[in-house]
């Protein structure tokens, strides 16, 4: 069998992919679900909470997976979600 990759790369910390912080303006959300469906990393999920419009705004399922591609912002029709990059801990 060819080379099997099992080890954690040695420079994993150094690579530091971007980490995202997700901001949701809950009351603007109209519950279309686009951000949840099309997030390539499945970071968002539907929340239990009901907003002013009687819909379930998204909530963050696993913020660590967010790589700030910001497709949720691009595909949200209501300007209800955006992502800011977390400053990397311990300096980049």
């Amino acid at each position: 069998m060819p080379v099997r990759i099992w080890r954690k790369p040695l420079d994993l910390e150094k690579a530091k992919p971007p980490k995202g912080e997700i901001h949701i303006i809950k009351d603007r959300c109209k519950g279309c679900g686009y951000c949840i469906e099309y997030c390539p990393r499945k970071v968002l999920e539907e929340s239990e909470e009901i907003n002013k419009r009687g819909v379930h705004p998204p909530q963050v399922a696993d913020e660590s997976k967010c790589v700030v591609c910001s497709f949720c912002t691009a595909v949200c029709p209501d300007f209800a979600i955006f992502v800011t990059e977390k400053p990397c801990e311990g300096g980049c």
């Binding site: 912080e21 901001h23 603007r28 679900g33 913020e63 595909v75």
Partner: protein
């Protein structure tokens, strides 16, 4: 997940804050088109004082009221004629018409083909949701054959326009078609159109779940967006005449990207020439 008061949505700089949230239904593609347009303006770092957004009547017609720029909401179908006046009066302005399939190609069709013919430097973005949404979902010039609307209860019997073919045939120098799921490419395409001189046209096929989707087996925005994702194939610079839009297949991409002297360039050139001749005449 944080709800800071002082952190603003990055696009709010380009929006009329007091008017947000907007009136469009849940899942409607118009919001995505507005976001894509403002993203393009942001990427190009354009001077907001020098942009005029003109819109016609219909759901997307309200878009002019949502941008933090000079904007005008004209009568039904007359956005392009109005924009012609604006552009000629002050060619320094970037004039962008954002309107719907009914407004631009039914009542406004005449103005569209002539503006394209003249290749006047106006940018047109058409939100094509296959029907008249604002008035409750009537068939329009782009409604697919056999689709159900309030005025085609037995299925639409009219052959729809192929908008990119129409625009290309009329003489537009930039023609593209995207859908709201291909929002990154739409933004790039809008940027390219804004930087280019001449009559630019981008058709954006966008979901209308509440009105059109409801009557055509696509009740939710997700169903429509996933349908768009499934059936779209990108064929850049293929023949616009063959750029099919049907239930099974939608051909998207850039179709025309040529250069042609624009109407106002020739006009102002003539004016300069006439005035020079007149001065020599004295």
């Amino acid at each position: 997940m944080v709800q800071h008061e002082n952190i603003f949505h990055p696009m709010e700089v380009f929006l009329r804050k007091s008017r947000i949230p907007h009136i469009w239904c849940s899942g409607c593609g118009n919001g995505i088109i507005l976001h894509s347009f403002t993203e393009a303006v942001k990427e190009l770092e354009m001077d907001l004082d020098k942009i005029v957004v003109v819109s016609g009547i219909g759901c997307i017609g309200r878009v002019a009221g949502y941008v933090n720029m000079d904007s005008f909401h004209t009568t039904h179908g007359r956005a392009i004629a109005f924009a012609t006046g604006v552009k000629l009066a002050n060619p320094e302005l970037t004039v962008v018409v954002i309107s719907g399939d009914g407004d631009l190609f039914a009542i406004g069709g005449n103005h569209f083909i002539h503006a394209a013919r003249r290749n006047i430097d106006i940018k047109v973005i058409c939100a094509n949701n296959f029907n008249y949404g604002m008035t409750g979902g009537q068939q329009g010039p782009t409604t697919p054959l056999e689709a159900y609307t309030t005025t085609s209860p037995y299925g639409n019997i009219e052959h729809p326009f192929n908008l990119v073919h129409l625009a290309a045939a009329s003489g537009a120098t930039y023609v593209a078609r995207w859908t709201t799921i291909h929002v990154r490419r739409l933004t790039a395409s809008i940027q390219k159109m804004l930087q280019k001189r001449g009559f630019g046209f981008i058709e954006v096929i966008s979901p209308c779940p509440e009105i059109y989707g409801r009557r055509n087996k696509m009740r939710t925005g997700l169903e429509m967006m996933n349908w768009l994702k499934k059936v779209s194939t990108i064929k850049n610079f293929s023949d616009p005449a063959k750029a099919e839009v049907s239930r099974e297949k939608i051909v998207i991409g850039e179709f025309v990207d040529t250069e042609k002297p624009t109407f106002e360039t020739i006009l102002y050139e003539t004016i300069r020439w006439v005035q020079e001749k007149a001065e020599q005449g004295e």
